[in-house]
């Protein structure tokens, strides 16, 4: 199994708040890794470390290494903008741009110079929407605003927008928590398809979801990585008492 991301000794402070405490973890290529844990334990914070989104937050201090494909993304010679191009992100609330469906997908690849306006761009838009299982629903209304879609469609649009940039890793922060069960199912199916080509790291509060889609699961608690193993192990046979309490719902 190929290693995609290797995190060693990652610490993060928001001011005086030690939000991530010496986290080390290996994330595997073409697998889905789920991050679970009680609210405020640092899952989102950890996720944002992987594409340097935390750089946008003031008063923050990060130590440790996040090595992706053999390169520490926190090295001085790495531009965080380029990191985010390679490591895509999908957010909890669907946040399409208030532009047309087409522009939502085409905007970033055009800006990155990955495609030129015209047929190649149209192809990329179609291909990305197809990969996100949205093409059939929107192919006749590409010029309508992305915000006119339903929540679940919007989230798939956001995924299409992310994969249009052709990242290698997709980070998802509770991608289905704002969605109904049917949309959730669609997104989960999509995640399983996408893992052929991408490494996916997803945060979820939904234990069943983690059990359904994730190959590996990491349990966080108070900024510490308590346990990390294959999903089955975490849910059926966890080593740590805290993990067991959490996955069986006895936590808190």
């Amino acid at each position: 199994m190929e290693n995609k991301i290797k995190v060693t000794g990652l610490n993060l402070w928001y001011g005086d708040n030690h939000a991530l405490n010496n986290v080390s973890i290996d994330i595997y290529k073409n697998h889905i890794t789920a991050l679970i844990g009680p609210s405020g334990c640092g899952k989102s914070t950890f996720l944002r470390c992987l594409n340097r989104m935390n750089d946008l937050i003031r008063n923050i201090r990060i130590t440790g290494d996040v090595v992706i494909d053999g390169k520490n993304i926190y090295d001085k010679d790495v531009d965080e903008v380029s990191v985010r191009k390679h490591i895509g992100m999908v957010f909890q609330q669907p946040n399409p741009f208030p532009k047309s469906i087409y522009d939502n997908v085409a905007y970033a690849p055009l800006k990155h110079g990955q495609v030129k306006k015209g047929q190649t761009c149209d192809d990329l838009v179609e291909q990305s929407l197809r990969r996100a299982n949205l093409w059939v629903e929107v192919k006749d209304k590409l010029q309508q605003p992305g915000t006119s879609l339903s929540g679940g469609q919007q989230q798939r649009l956001c995924i299409a927008r992310t994969i249009a940039v052709q990242p290698e890793v997709i980070l998802m922060d509770e991608p289905t928590s704002a969605l109904d069960p049917i949309s959730t199912e669609k997104i989960e199916a999509l995640m399983l398809e996408l893992k052929q080509d991408y490494s996916i790291i997803t945060v979820t509060h939904n234990m069943q979801q983690a059990a359904r889609v994730a190959d590996y699961t990491a349990f966080f608690h108070l900024g510490l990585l308590i346990e990390y193993a294959e999903t089955e192990t975490i849910f059926i046979n966890p080593v740590q008492k805290k993990t067991e309490d959490y996955v069986t719902g006895r936590y808190g």
Partner: protein, 389 residues
């Protein structure tokens, strides 16, 4: 224990309702009071100002003779001397010099009447002698005295002869001044707001700048006049009374208003849009320029137009830098002496002749009309550029 007539009976409730009604009536009264003040003001302006949009003309026969070339009063019958505008007489020799073919001809024209005749016709106070009054009455009976639309009011500039005074120089001055203000304050204000909202890190410096901008917005406008006088006129030596200096001064005044409103507009754009952009690997400039600014634009525009409307109605700082001067010719460059509409209103309001009262009111109507259309424009643009979510 007293038994309640039904389970929802609540004796306290009636009192609460009464107080709510009382409060509601109080708010209604406040609105009613302000509307009636506004209504009174507007009707008063319209009643006083409307007559100014008409002006009296008298039918006369001009005799272009050699004598009238040096003494224009000779061109008309002597009896007309007091009832025709001096300004009209004064223009005759010039007319003949330009067009020598007129010599020894006659022409029947509508000549501008003296302001006293005008006021007499409009039923205002006048000081016509009985002889002149009978003449005017006589001419009017023949249909040789009429009220016509006062085109002069818009095509002429200020004059010491009331019937000849118009708003043109003030309108041109306002346009020139506001042009300078807009060209400076809009880009500077929006840039500053974008920097403070999107780029600046929160430190002592930016807090200091922020406090100063907020304070600047609260400074009495007359102080901006002093600032303009000290900096633009005394320090930089720019021409006094000019639209350039006026525009610069008003730009200083409008800048904080635009900054504050543009920042509010930028702040109202949800962070999720920025996150979406950054998450795709866009640079800060791309996120701000392509995603944040277009969304904030309607708000920024509205704030800026309101700021400009504010600048347009401003008089105090312009008095300080000398834009209150008597400007008989409308300026055609930014450096010539100019005046603006509110300053013109101020000047006319202080004139002793009765005829200026209606001019003042009419000028106020024009100014209010322009301000209202500014606000209308703001609403229209906001609708036009609004992005659906």
């Amino acid at each position: 224990m007293k038994s309640d007539p039904h389970p929802f009976a609540d004796t306290h409730l009636r009192k609460r309702h009464r107080r709510a009604r009382w409060f509601k009536n109080l708010t209604l009264f406040a609105i009613g009071l302000s509307i009636s003040f506004l209504f009174y003001f507007l009707t008063d302006m319209v009643v006083k100002g409307l007559p100014a949009f008409q002006q009296t003309y008298i039918k006369v026969t001009i005799h272009y003779t050699t004598q009238s070339q040096s003494n224009p009063f000779a061109a008309l019958d002597k009896s007309y001397r007091k009832i025709i505008s001096r300004a009209w007489y004064r223009a005759l020799p010039q007319q003949m010099a330009v067009n020598p073919a007129l010599l020894n001809t006659q022409a029947e024209v509508w000549a501008l009447a003296d302001d006293q005749v005008d006021q007499y016709l409009k039923g205002h106070y006048h000081n016509l002698k009985p002889k002149e009054r009978t003449l005017v009455d006589h001419l009017q009976a023949k249909g040789e005295v009429v009220l016509k639309f006062n085109a002069l009011f818009f095509s002429h500039s200020d004059s010491k002869i009331p019937e000849f005074a118009g708003l043109k120089s003030a309108m041109v001055g306002s346009v020139l001044t506001l042009f300078i203000t807009m060209v400076l304050a809009f880009p500077l204000g929006v840039m500053t707001a974008v920097y403070l909202e999107e780029f600046a890190i929160d430190n002592r410096w930016t807090q200091f700048i922020e406090i100063n901008i907020n304070n600047l917005a609260a400074i009495p406008s007359i102080l901006f006049g002093l600032l303009g006088l000290a900096i633009f006129i005394n320090l930089f030596g720019l021409p006094r009374s000019s639209a350039l200096v006026g525009g610069l001064t008003l730009a200083l005044m409008t800048l904080p208003i635009i900054i504050v409103s543009a920042r509010a507009a930028l702040r109202s754009i949800p962070d999720s849009i920025r996150q979406a952009g950054y998450g795709l690997g866009l640079s800060k400039l791309q996120v701000v320029q392509d995603h944040v600014l277009p969304l904030a634009f309607p708000g920024i525009l509205t704030g800026s137009i309101i700021g400009l409307a504010h600048a347009m109605g401003e008089t105090a700082p312009l008095i300080i830098i000398g834009m209150i001067a008597f400007i008989p010719d409308s300026p055609d460059s930014f450096t010539q002496a100019a005046t603006v509409m509110p300053a013109q209103i101020f000047t006319w309001a202080g004139m002793p002749e009765r005829a200026y009262i209606e001019k003042t009111a009419a000028a106020i109507m024009v100014l209010l009309g322009v301000l209202l259309s500014f606000n209308g424009l703001a609403i229209y643009l906001r609708k036009k550029f609004a992005v659906k979510w």
